[in-house]
Symmetry: C2
Subunit: 424 residues, 2 copies
């Protein structure tokens, strides 16, 4: 899937703002924020207004009731990314929970558009949460690497996109997915290995006109024809029939897609099309965006090494980047900070801690101390450094252990360990 | 490939007339004829003006010099479809002959869009000629069945299109292709079996914009996105790298495409794109259209059983159709016919004989006798019936003998019998 990156928008953002519209939901032009699969822009220091986005996109807010229901059904505490509102929006999550209660199967689908050899911290978020979903619900997972998308959108050769995909697959495997229950595929290989997948692409393509993809994705007359057809490729893994080797030919196993909210347009389109193909609509669970080091209204770019912390950064690089570049919500002077306290809503070290510090009590304490001015900017940065350094180090250690054979096995079209026959 | 069928044009023909334009060649609006992959329309009783079409499309006329050169290089007499101008136009045929003289390899590519369970006589023409090319030049051949195209364009389900493709494959095999040198594939299967093919589709897609396919094919805002991307699928078999199993990974083996002239827009686009992919441009050899029984300016439709002779027709059906429906260029009365003679330019029995009566001398005699009024309409119809009945009968006998295993073998991605290493 595409990562948010303003520069890579296929068309002019202003032009898009005036014409975004899709199927059952209408996306209106807005003075503040702009979100689509290639562009995320906000004028506010606190970043995107996610409540507004829920209204615009026509999704549902994840409320306490839903979180409680998930905890009740799974018998496990909710993940901190769910409790803290990083995953904040959904479509038909209750439908998936109904299936679980009825003992019926579902599967997870997420993905990544490989855009650089190295992923940054923000790229981990959907995978960290997806891993939790997989463990908690004990379900199969498919992960799509859209190397074809990157080839079509960027000025790079196909083999470079493919190489990037494999580099990213290593980072994804390092998140700890269960090999027996996870199929990772890159489009440029799997589409050429699966007539069923290609046939679903065709079925989706037949239901979607140029008018529609122009409205949803802002494609124009000068867009290449690969881009225009691409939404069908991101839609197809939502349907269990695209993976006959996993789902034993079953066409009706519903899908839950954890992803950043910018990918929602693809799946609004998919949900529009699904009933016409007599397939279940995919359910979704959406995350907010991971902010750039420089603040929520700036863009985080994989091509700007100073805008984010990479999974390849050394402990020292992490320390220096946070100390030098992490946007602070603290007071301008010691005096001012002690008097007014820090602003957690814009403070990047605090924001990052909400993503990566699992200890709820400690996070609450930090918030209190920082907001009151008791904790200094240097201290909160130090805390973040101490949290991130071991996370990145462990990731690097796990990544280093991944063999070519392991990658091959994850990417081999095969049956996954999940017995559909025992399900009702 | 699409067969000419006015009804299946994706957009309004008049609208297309005003905007057809493509790459290096310009297709201007014309008062008389209209030709594109879905529409062939002529107001003249003699049908399309092919000399005008050559100018419009920017191809080259097949002249005596080219025919003589083919005979000289192959040491064999030219096929009657070539001598008689049924194959009348080409692109870079001399380039292919240069390769042959240099002892360098090339391959043949043709195809069919399966549109009904049964093919008619006209559908045989490109295959009859392709078989002769394969035998004469001793080269490998790939045949694309665009069942995906038919699914995207027509109101039918994917499995119906796939079934039609297999039915048509039987008729194609019955033409007598060499199993060891021929690979027949349907898109909905082969694309899902060949990462190399899909990757070439992507490469073509990246080079072609919506603007371009709108200009070439008349696609519009309400065209589905599968149609818009489809030209990349018909382009890809032009490149040897789409068939690594046949060409041992070689990317530079040139391709010769025998096809009806209405398919040329696909390959003008392909030739435009090829240099950017560093692939050789495909060469082409174009045929005229096979006229409908009712005359050259009417359309022949696979869905109208009376407009053509089907490969499933009985001897009696053939006889009755020709006697009842074949448009006659003879005089209105016996007296008038004896006085003015018949007009071979519009007479369908004579036209059909030029396609199917191999004996040059006999054909010339018939032309003389009919034009002079010595031969009656009933006689020329009888001659045609006597020529076609055994052709169709033999075809049916050969078709009946084709086993499922044989079809499987023709359609199995595999190495073909052709040794590239011995070629210079």
């Amino acid at each position: 899937m595409a990562e948010p990156d303003v520069k890579n928008g296929p068309e002019d953002v202003a032009e898009k703002l005036s014409k975004l519209t899709m199927g059952d939901s209408k996306v209106e032009a807005d003075d503040d924020d702009f979100v689509d699969p290639w562009s995320v822009a906000s004028k506010s220091a606190t970043g995107i207004d996610y409540n507004k986005l829920i209204k615009k996109f026509g999704s549902s807010k994840i409320d306490d009731e839903l979180v409680t229901r998930i905890e009740k059904i799974t018998g496990k505490p909710a993940h901190h990314l769910l409790k803290r509102g990083v995953f904040f929006s959904h479509r038909e999550m209750h439908g998936i929970l109904n299936k679980v209660e009825q003992g019926k199967p579902f599967f997870l689908y997420t993905g990544r558009g490989p855009s650089s050899n190295s992923m940054h911290l923000g790229h981990l978020i959907p995978f960290v949460f997806t891993k939790w979903l997989q463990e908690t619900f004990d379900v199969p997972l498919v992960i799509q690497m859209t190397d074809d998308e990157k080839f079509l959108w960027k000025d790079l050769k196909l083999d470079v996109a493919q190489k990037m995909a494999i580099d990213n697959v290593k980072d994804i495997i390092a998140c700890g997915f269960d090999k027996e229950k996870t199929f990772i595929f890159k489009d440029t290989e799997y589409i050429g290995q699966s007539p069923a997948f290609y046939q679903n692409m065709l079925r989706v393509q037949k239901c979607v006109t140029f008018n529609q993809v122009r409205g949803i994705f802002g494609f124009g007359d000068s867009s290449n024809i690969g881009k225009i057809a691409f939404p069908s490729i991101q839609a197809s893994p939502s349907f269990s029939s695209s993976f006959p080797q996993i789902f034993e030919g079953k066409k009706d196993i519903p899908c839950l897609i954890p992803c950043a909210i910018d990918q929602d347009p693809y799946f609004r389109m998919t949900r529009d099309v699904a009933p016409r193909l007599k397939y279940p609509k995919p359910a979704l669970i959406h995350s907010t965006f991971f902010p750039a080091l420089q603040g929520a209204q700036t863009k985080m770019s994989a091509s700007d090494p100073l805008s984010s912390i990479f999974l390849t950064d050394t402990p020292n690089q992490i320390k220096n980047k946070i100390n030098k570049y992490a946007f602070s919500g603290g007071g301008a002077t010691l005096e001012e900070h002690q008097k007014n306290g820090g602003n957690c809503d814009v403070d990047i070290p605090y924001q990052y801690l909400t993503f990566f510090l699992e200890d709820d009590e400690r996070l609450a304490q930090i918030k209190e101390d920082y907001s009151s001015g008791k904790m200094m900017t240097g201290e909160i940065k130090k805390t973040l450094i101490e949290v991130l350094q071991p996370i990145v180090k462990k990731h690097q250690e796990r990544r280093k252990m991944i063999t070519d054979d392991e990658i091959k096995e994850f990417m081999r079209p095969r049956k996954l360990k999940y017995d559909y026959s025992t399900k009702k």
